[in-house]
Amino acid sequence: MSTNRSSKSTGVYGTGISRREAVRRGLVGTAGLLLTERLMPGALAAVTQPVAKTASSGKVKAKSVIQIFLWGGMSHNDTWDPKPDAGYEYTGALKAAIPTKVDGIQLGELFPELAKQADKYSLIRSMTHRNFGHETAAYLMQTGHTPGERLAYPSLGAVFSLFKSDTYKGIIPPFVVLTQPAGRFSEAGFLPSKYKPFATGGDPNAARFEVEGVVAKGITDERQKARQKYLHEMNTFGNAMANNPQIAASDDAEKQAYKLILGEGKEVFDLNKEKPELRDKFGRNTFGQECLMARRLVEVGVPYIVINYPAGWDTHKDHFQTMRRQCPQLDQGLAMLLQDLSDHGLLESTLVWCSGEFGRTPKVDWQPPWNGGRGHYGNVFTVLVAGGGFKGGHVVGSSDAKAEEPKDRPVYPVDFLGSIYTLAGIDTNALLPHPLGLEARVLPIGEEGVKSNGLLKEIM
């Protein structure tokens, strides 16, 4: 796919010339003069980057996004791209494929619940990036940028919280992670830390979901209010310095914090407000209740929610045991999430995507020490997408007979992320504010060496 940059409205100071071009011209014009200066590198100040306030392009179909990340990389051929005829070397014991609600789409045998919801989601079976490292592939799948560039780009969630900050004004932070940050990955990249995710901590499957900082253990509301007043009385230094901008910023942050602590914020996190039968349907386990929690966050408008799957999928060893243990929970929670969003009329405006950073080697490694395990595999794998403007009941692309290579319509990270941004009304070509004022865009579509096959128009 090619993108004609000059047609976009992201020129420098409205001049219509690109920043790169402006820098080039600036240097050509002044370099000779600068040679005589005592400290040479005065060519350009680190200018504040002109970032479009709203980077919107087109209609916003996806108001919220739920990203379910299967950290470690889930096998694709055991799950959503079954190859029952590939032979035991490939399928191991999980050789059965089951039909779904949609004719012609089959799933692996461990996904009976998702099979019933097949009209609600589509499967991208030709996702490819050929990267085999956890941290690099996770970066690629969540930023769309090639690892090892000189800039550390922000993830989807951080970009959402940047561009949604003028429309989303809720008291819950705009980018929430259930429940732990991924680690080995910097979600905000070079963006300021206010775009980092709010990680809830706690366990939504516990009797009380103790969201760190929001719901305190053993402190009555009365004491909570009394000590707030007490703090203000005892803040001798802060009170004397109230006009100091640092103190004022801290006071603002405190006011917002108390809105969550004492206000309606903590209600949102109270899963006991849901019917017990509904909670049962999601599965009484951490992942299931995280899915329910995600729906509650969507209801109050939170733009980006990440569920980091509570257990890993890096199944070099004990592969088949792990799949039999984890897939049923994933199946139940995810299927119920789609059903529940649909029941609440939220599926149309909520984009759900579920994937790991890569798939796993389609051929089972029977040798010791793996004894029936699967390694990292980035050549082809499957991503599930639903809602928010994505059509359900379709399959995009396909892998070859043994799920080793994309057979047709390879989908690259920029195609996939570009589709999400587009459905959310975020211009993939918009500038991001870089601390050094360097040129940085949401996605590198059209840049040298970046493979692309175009947005997922067939399901949008």
């Binding site: 053993g218 601390p435 050094l436």
Partner: protein, 528 residues
């Protein structure tokens, strides 16, 4: 002595009497907890470049109190709080020269190297993984080398030279990791990092032909792996030059040089850089050291040195440079000069609205404690520890319980607290990478997280205070000295005692809430 008139009535009514250094206090004077009388603090040569300039701007800054001074020096130089005992002894010491004596003690403490190793590790990007794959034991070797260099007060020029000209294994010669901890590991990327780190200059904005000239010095660096897992050897590799034409390189000052074929070009570059007359080298470190203590560079940002970003006080910068050179790049010497100056000891409480005041260091600027310093302070006060982990599966990352966050040898070792409070990502080595801006989620954590609440309720040091047989007013005093490093004012003591007796709280809750409140004050959370 000039005093700012913003003092609150509550200070005047304070009943705590504190001996004042220099004995210039009127006996029985109700001491302001934050502003001292400053009578015993002599002007130093450094002050001649700062104070007269402020007077011309109509500013006559107040000097901080003894209590503020000991806390400030501990946090700025050691990344830790004074204990209640240290604070009490210092405040009540009547020695005129106690501030100078404190500086000498602080410079000799073990935490000096530990804390400054953390600061340098931000700039030198000591992190096992993301965005650069250094690997845990390489990051730790790098950190070990940095810390040892600071502990022996290695001259700064030698410190830089050893890094720039280093060769050897990433696991054994820690300093070679300087060349590995770079995202864009091309000659151009390395040159850009060298410029940022040791010249305080952002090569991204240089005229186009300068970087290609400089990168030649870094185009013969070899990286090769060994039979040990993840080991990498850095070495001078002249075979990278395939043509026989003489290699021409250009220093960032525009001087061209033909590289001798029998010498590692990195040495040629280091020889050019590490000279007193180099326009960037001494300027960069002198300016950075000032900014680390005073919160703002004389050239600001400190790593954005360029001709159209002039210093706010050129004479001061020249003075610091000269001292750096004549002391043979003794970092402790320059720290000592700053710490003993009245200019460093100015109060943070200032209501001067002159826009030039800030750039001329009219008051000590408020800065939130660094993430690591903050959690260490909380743990020290409560007698607790935190769990730190690294996501990189690696047998070499063992983190003992007793290790402080400041001492962590690898930026990949973290906790949700450190993440939340802006631990540096160590991706670019820029000073702005460490973000100490307040966020609502941070305030929520301090106000309401069970992580903090548990420390306050069950921390052994807290329990020891709560369960002691101290009278209520002594209990208040102990908590103030422990948490805020000062005595309470009369009003504060009264408030605290009446809250502890109120009906909302029972048992120790009143004292837990006092500790909670003090830890949530700006005075605790900010360097001041």
């Amino acid at each position: 002595m000039y005093r700012l008139d913003r003092m609150k009535a509550s200070f005047i009514s304070a009943v705590v009497f504190v001996a004042v250094a220099g004995g210039s206090a009127v006996s029985g004077w109700a001491q302001d907890p934050f502003v001292g009388l400053g009578g015993g603090i002599p002007e130093t040569p450094l002050d001649k470049f700062v104070l007269p300039k402020l007077q011309r701007l109509g500013v006559n800054p107040a000097i901080c109190s003894d209590a503020v001074y000991i806390r400030r020096v501990f946090v700025d130089m050691l990344g830790t709080l004074p204990t209640a005992k240290e604070a009490r002894e210092f405040i009540t010491d009547s020695d005129r020269n106690k501030r100078r004596a404190l500086v000498e003690r602080v410079l000799e403490r073990d935490e000096y190297a530990t804390y400054w190793a953390m600061k340098w590790s931000d700039i030198l990007r000591v992190k096992a993984e993301f965005p650069v794959n250094l690997w845990p034991n390489a990051a730790q070797a790098y950190h070990r080398w940095i810390r040892a260099s600071l502990a022996e007060n290695k001259p700064y020029d030698q410190f830089v030279r050893e890094m720039l000209t280093s060769s050897g294994s990433n696991f054994r010669a820690g300093q070679v990791n300087f060349y590995r901890a770079i995202q864009n590991r091309t000659p151009e990327g390395i040159a850009t990092t060298v410029a940022l780190t040791f010249m305080g200059s952002r090569a991204e904005f240089w005229p186009k032909h300068y970087l290609p000239g400089m990168k030649v010095f870094f185009s013969q660096i070899g990286f090769k792996s060994t039979r040990e897992w993840k080991e990498e050897v850095i070495f001078w590799d002249p075979t990278k030059i395939t043509n026989s034409a003489p290699q021409m390189a250009t220093f960032p000052d525009g001087t061209q040089i033909q590289l001798p074929s029998d010498r590692d070009p990195r040495e040629v570059f280091a020889d050019w850089l590490i000279r007193p007359e180099n326009p960037w080298f001494t300027l960069n470190i002198a300016n950075r050291m000032w900014s680390w203590l005073l919160g703002r560079g004389i050239i600001h940002e400190p790593d954005d040195i360029r001709s159209n970003n002039p210093p706010s006080n050129e004479a001061l910068l020249d003075y610091l440079k000269k001292e750096m050179i004549t002391s043979h790049y003794d970092m402790k010497h320059v720290f000592r000069l700053i710490l003993n100056s009245r200019s460093y000891q100015v109060s943070s409480m200032s209501r001067i609205n002159n826009p030039q005041a800030e750039a001329n260091f009219a008051s000590y600027p408020l800065r939130r404690l660094d993430a690591e310093v903050l959690i260490d302070a909380i743990n020290k006060i409560t007698g607790t520890t935190d769990l730190y982990t690294s996501a990189i599966p690696e047998p070499f990352t063992f983190i003992p319980d007793s290790m402080t966050a400041v001492a962590m040898p690898d930026g990949s070792i973290t906790s949700s607290f450190l993440q939340l409070f802006g631990q540096s990502a160590r991706a670019t080595g820029m000073e702005t990478e460490r973000v100490n801006k307040p966020l609502p989620a941070q305030r929520m954590h301090m106000l309401n997280a069970s992580h903090i609440q548990q420390k306050l309720e069950d921390g052994p040091k807290m329990k020891a205070i709560f369960n002691s047989s101290l009278a209520p007013h002594k209990m208040v005093e102990e908590l103030y000295l422990t948490i805020l490093s000062r005595f309470p004012t009369g009003d504060e003591a009264k408030n605290a005692e009446s809250y502890a007796k109120s009906k909302v709280v029972k048992g120790n809750e009143g004292w837990v809430d006092l500790a909670w409140a003090l830890m949530n004050t700006a005075e605790f959370l900010y360097r001041h």
